[in-house]
Assembly symmetry: D2
Homo-oligomer: 167 residues x 4
């Protein structure tokens, strides 16, 4: 069975979401596919869409766990899972993943990062992508709190870290 | 996006599960793949394993939504989703499917059939496969109760019915 | 901690739902309260409302696990839990209960009965209340299928059975 | 129907959890009861237990949504809901609440805070209680991220804020 790697991050309507973060998401998606893993994500726009686009460029498979309907899926999703669970679907994405990579993001992404940490998944924050991810890294908050995350500077390092910790 | 078709039915420890039901499950899996759909199921043994085996023979993709761990997956599952939800994962399987096909089965399969009907999914029972499916068909119970199921006599008819109702 | 007893059954729009079933639901609600247990249910109309009404007459506490909004609760619900999970909330009702009593009902009630049986909860069907419950009892279907239910003829017997099996 | 107010925070094994935070949790529990609301929480130790203790002192009702078993409940829980959902039960607690009050806490509490904010619930952080709550307040992180929380300095202010926003 191929490993599942989750990519979490801003939807397209996030004002903090910039081209750099989208480009990294696409590189990470491509790298996931090239290394033989399957991309799992929330299936919508922004970071999720760029990651799916990259995974398809790399010849991979993309799974989107949607809040309610397939109509919400971006055009690069191969398998659209209609969870019927709304925001609660975040849990299924993280629970299914062998490793979780977070890029930029808002409170929804923080919800996925915190779920990942409490479920004990390898959790990788990509530095320099803005949003909640850089807020956590730059303020060094939460570093005295039990449960740990890893910091990557680019797509290659994110995948190296993910594969180092995949069981 | 390819349609998702769920196959539900007995795990391998069901005493009522016979070779005929397993053979039909395999044929249905193969037919799902040949018609360009993706198989989604509970990912374990018995009917689920035969359906996955068939789908792989047909060149398709198989998704297994597992109660807890990937270790529970049969060898024909391509994408193993660790839901962390136990029996509650039945809901995710049905919620994600464009059509649901049930073969033999016990109370767990009845749980999936009833979920499928209350969610308004096309729900196909395969006649002659034993278990809960034939109990429902033969006793004509529940036919005066709102919410309907369809009856198929073989793999081909099951898929014909599924595709007739896929949006 | 007081035991939790779930009452499941038809919503008010079920054509098969008659006065007898509603009266038994009310008696069962009252009996739950009198014996010191807490009523848990789906919080809506029909059987659920009659059971809640009875529990309040008996001086008890009523919990309603609602699909989405408090606005769906009947006037006898003390604690309205907005699950945000739609039909999926059935699982939470059953998972929480120490025993489950089913009255009349359609596919949604069958979903709760089957969940109760696969979770290994004491599951009591009240004979003579119509709907799915009597279909199961009268046709003696599913009796060769692993997993068992108990049959009660009135409110008193339903509660006697529930308390016999509460851990 | 009485409003439901959730109290989230550290379990008893959190090294950052001090007597001040526990005392505030107890005062908040008592205040919830006195103002006619019902306390809902994770049902376990630490902040949850102190809040339940306070609510019982105030003559109120306490609901504990447990990860798996009633055996995990603290002695002040009146209604123990066995969700069977593990950490996923966080979502049910928040989804059910009319307002959410967070005290101290680690990643699990951050998971609840972020769920509360994405579900649009009034979310109150109690300043000076340490842990994740003070990390967020002191570093003023996430304040440029959409979705907002409120800051309270004591039990009275926490409840004033909660009731100001309850529909």
């Amino acid at each position: 069975m191929k490993p599942l790697i989750a990519v979490c991050g801003s939807d397209e309507d996030d004002e903090n979401l910039g081209d750099k973060a989208l480009k990294i998401a696409e590189e990470i998606g491509k790298e996931i596919a090239k290394r033989g893993a399957i991309l799992i994500c929330g299936g919508r726009g922004g970071i999720m869409q760029s990651a799916c686009k990259g995974a398809k460029e790399g010849g991979g498979i993309t799974i989107g766990i949607l809040p309610f309907s397939k109509g919400e899926a971006n055009p690069y999703v191969d398998v659209a899972i209609e969870s019927g669970l709304g925001h609660f679907r975040n849990y299924i994405i993280i629970s299914s993943a062998d490793a979780v990579i977070a890029i930029c993001g808002r409170w929804g992404t923080l919800n996925e990062i915190s779920t990942s940490i409490i479920l004990g998944k390898p959790t990788i924050l990509v530095k320099g992508t803005g949003g909640v991810v850089d807020e956590i890294i730059e303020n060094k908050i939460l570093e005295n709190i039990e449960g740990r995350y890893l910091i990557a500077r680019d797509a290659k390092e994110a995948l190296d870290l993910a594969f180092r910790f995949i069981r």
